[in-house]
Subunit: 344 residues, 4 copies
């Protein structure tokens, strides 16, 4: 009988609890001879051997809860003084854990890979709200974020139309514009601005103006990582001392006054923020999380240490950590081109 420890690391994400539950239910099926325990607050719990009991009753009803019952943190297993493979091996031995199941994003998978290469049996489950992991078609959490962002677009449009305003919605996506692209398409935005494709203020204002000229209220969805030529300058203001200083606020709050000034259309920004990543997961994310969870014991039983699960089409597949980490999946330009063709 083997005992494995689960950790969730990095930003929280709807679907984490479904993965945990999917894994733990295995201990009741009799298919494998495994039991499971949770590490508290990500790699912190791994390094200090702080665990949470995980049996069937501990995971009852959790797949519909946001966040993670294990807690999470940005604690790095190699960067913190008490970390490192030797300490972790000792901790695992002390608490009687035979291997690590790491659920997290690209950074977590890189750390998991290093643990694996340092001789600690480790498997991974990919997680990112932003959907920007190359190795998998989709990650859980993304679907929920898109649903929430789309509802925000739907709500803002009615205000925009009633007041003839341009509404700008800033959504997550530092390196890839997936949430902006999906919620913008779903909500019928007139411009979708993503990091993959910088656009000039002139172009953005041309889109906005053309919508107004058709008698509609322009709706702009912008990913937080979008940039435009001249942004830095626009994003600063001259102090009384004559020096330029950066303004507070994100890209949405930078763009709105520029659009308003250039087009003469009253413009309002909304920053969706943390609301995108918490709360009840969509059914899709619960299913994806559950399927990843079901697949973990199988992966371990097959001796698949050093591998990460991924979704390809409708199948759960396995990818070596080494092939998975470090590749950001951005929105392909032809996908963007399709959407762009109908802007304005």
């Amino acid at each position: 009988m083997a005992r494995y420890g689960i950790l969730t690391s990095g930003g929280d994400c709807p679907g984490l609890n479904a993965v945990i539950r999917g894994i733990v239910l295995d201990s009741d099926t009799g298919l494998n001879d495994f039991t499971y325990v949770g590490f508290k607050d990500g790699f912190w719990g791994l390094v200090y051997g702080e665990t949470i009991n995980l049996d069937r009753s501990a995971v009852r009803g959790i797949s519909k809860e946001g966040g993670t019952i294990l807690g999470t943190s940005r604690f790095g297993p190699y960067t913190e003084p008490d970390g490192g493979p030797d300490n972790i091996k000792k901790a695992l031995e002390r608490i009687g854990v035979d291997g690590v199941i790491a659920i997290g994003g690209d950074g977590t998978m890189a750390a998991a890979n290093r643990l694996y290469e340092d001789g600690i049996p480790t498997v991974g489950v990919p997680k990112t709200i932003d959907n920007d992991l190359e190795a998998t078609d989709y990650t859980f959490g993304f679907n929920t974020a898109v649903e929430i962002a789309t509802e925000a677009v739907d709500r803002l449009r009615t205000t925009g139309n009633s007041h003839k305003r341009c509404m700008v919605l800033e959504v997550m996506g530092r390196h890839a514009g997936w949430i902006a692209m999906y919620s913008g398409l779903a909500g019928g935005a007139h411009a979708i601005l993503i990091p993959e494709s910088p656009e000039s203020v002139d172009q953005i204002c041309a889109w906005v103006t053309s919508v107004r000229d058709r008698g509609r209220a322009p709706m702009v969805v912008v990913a937080e990582g979008f940039t435009f030529p001249g942004m830095e300058e626009a994003h600063s203001h001259k102090g009384l001392d004559g020096f330029n200083r950066p303004r507070l606020g994100g890209i949405g709050e930078i763009l709105a006054p520029i659009i308003e000034e250039r087009t003469g259309i009253e413009t309002r920004a909304t920053v969706l923020g943390h609301i995108q990543r918490g709360g009840v997961p969509s059914a899709w994310d619960r299913v994806l999380g559950t399927r990843f969870g079901f697949a973990v014991p199988e992966l371990i039983a097959d001796g698949g240490w050093g591998q990460m699960l991924a979704l390809r089409g409708t199948d759960i597949v396995r990818v070596p950590f080494a092939d998975a980490v470090g590749h950001t999946k951005t929105v392909p330009l032809d996908f963007y081109g399709e959407a762009r063709a109908v802007f304005g």
Copy 2:
């Protein structure tokens, strides 16, 4: 046969379209001999005689749509150069409209009262997201805003719990804290900060700390109009030139770094903003809007010019404009006291 013109003025609000539909359906019942027309963009349409056709097909299915099909604006019938009672009377005569149905907030009702006193037949329907009109138990829009804000609280809590963060949610409410109070109670916030009851930073941090000490993630809901002693100073920063200058951002963004610094608990602010006021109205707001709408033709048929509708208990009642305007309904201190007793 008489013809009446409907206008919606001020900020948009879920339920406006239900009122419009409720009124217009009257023209099909044969109960009264009235027809209806809409004024474009609030008092602007009244002053310039710009109207929108309103028959049964124009209002089909609109009660479930946010915003207002008539458009709205903050155009004042007395403050704009082309306004004033004489011009408005001429416009009404020219387009053949016998009376005005004004749907709006306190400012709109005050203007409607002035129109009435200047001899223009006018009735009113109260509207405010903030629920701060004294004359009525509830206004439509408020319920939808509370549902949206509560969902945000629910979502933020899971993130807070996963990361052991303090989450601060800023909701609408410049003069009254109704949305904060209701969404905070519904979401189980550990502190609800409202304009009616300034609290010191020490008190807020004591609540936050006591939650953390119980092992929970503190959830703070704050109305945009909340203030605390020393807020102005806290809300500024010393420039390189040695002068203090106001920071951008609302109360949520002011409070979060202060809480973090004082308590040592990582703290994040979310500003709900425009999402609170757009989109599909709750069933409650559609019913309240519809009932107000049904009651307007009756009010006019009874010659009730100069009056506004209101909700008292489960009844739609009538209140003279003169009694209704200028009274802000704030959260009573004993209501706040009940909630405050369980903070922290």
Copy 3:
């Protein structure tokens, strides 16, 4: 220091947990010197002295959960062999409980009144999905049910319009048509059929036909307790043996084939059923439940045994059991008349 026991009885209802939490939070405020315990499964737990521990951690986060953490049943404290006041007094003494807080509908309040008259200190909190208690403006659970039913109307309308079908939705309401009335008004139904106002099949079909003739898909909302002249006959079929026998199914399933046959319009029935009463409560119901909960310790502290809480306007008030029980609050005919005027 006194100790009081809470029970939830009858059908489950969104908002019950908010009441329980609201009461229990009192024990932490220091305002009163009370502690609380739960009775398992309604009056069953009272009779058998089966309790559930209720401290702050037991009620954490429950106000957003449907159902009741205490369990519920239709067990009657007087009708079951082990019940009766003497047994109950003994059970209370044995487990050290000084008074009973009964949360339930009309039947529960009647039983609570009898307990009170038999010398057992008892207070009540009203609960019914159907909103048919005369003593209170609204009960929690009703608002959630209306939101769910309204979403169903919204969904069915798009199917009806696409297929040019008449859609019939059956909602709860055995003795009063509140859910049908509110969800029908909110969803813009073309006919709302309630127990308070039997309508003939001819009348119903006239409404349905007039909608079709305007090119729309008729939407009918019917409360389960609605009847029409000749219903019994329609609701039976002649067996091979020549005898009439009742058909299975509720009023929706009875009406749909009759409407289809009489009007020639394809007609489909949907029975919403249990979905109306479970799951996440609306913010409104959580607030109402919480306020009732807050008011219970105060009521007890004031010695208010034999009384029930109620909502009047925006106030929580107190009503003697004797005045509250046995009065069904039906939809007033003038309310129905307003809605009826726009049918068809």
Copy 4:
């Protein structure tokens, strides 16, 4: 300049309007020289040349609306007297339409293929709530149905837990159990019953009993096409005349009383019905529909008559009708096995 006609056929499905909008927006991009028109009510409009104007303003805001703005029907282009290729060709010529875009399920694609083989330029977009088309990973509408069914599971569980009842939810899926499988997994059902895998009443009752024995309320999700050995007999009752006669009601209503009788656990059935297929589409379904819509003009521009679009992984691909029709995609047994391992 060419002109193409769009039709939607078969049951309505969330996402249809997103497809229509996606296609029509092409006419504004200048990428192709195409214009579009809609056929009324599916193949009926094709046969009789009844069209609906489709320009940008006609498709404004429709992607968030359920159903289809074109109307739909089960009218068959070959089975109806006025149908057949010659009549259709004449109709197309008369109204100046150069090709047909058919959006529908397996039957629609089969008819589209026949039209294509009979010389009428036709392309297809797959549509089915049930997700049972082999050629595509997912169809739009399925995701929305799963979200709705999952919310129903969530709601029913709280009622089940409060009353210690077994709750049975019947969802769509005549030939394939995808909706049951996904909503059951997402909602944490204790048994998921699908057409692909008949289970005995003994097995079902063993699952139900084991849940009860753990102190939980059993939740069963059953697809409408599920069968069990002996079902026919169970589904009939002996009349006074001594003959067996089929009972009304679907599989949920058949199973519930059997479970109750066999296990002694109070059991209630809910039939979700039409609610699953109407109303606001999920963001996912709007994106999938929009992407299909964007891909249609490209497909036509490439001369891809006789082909259907499909989703493979994250790509929109093309499949000849001949390869696509007639293959039902059922839930693979290993997928079912994963879920089954945790039942009870």
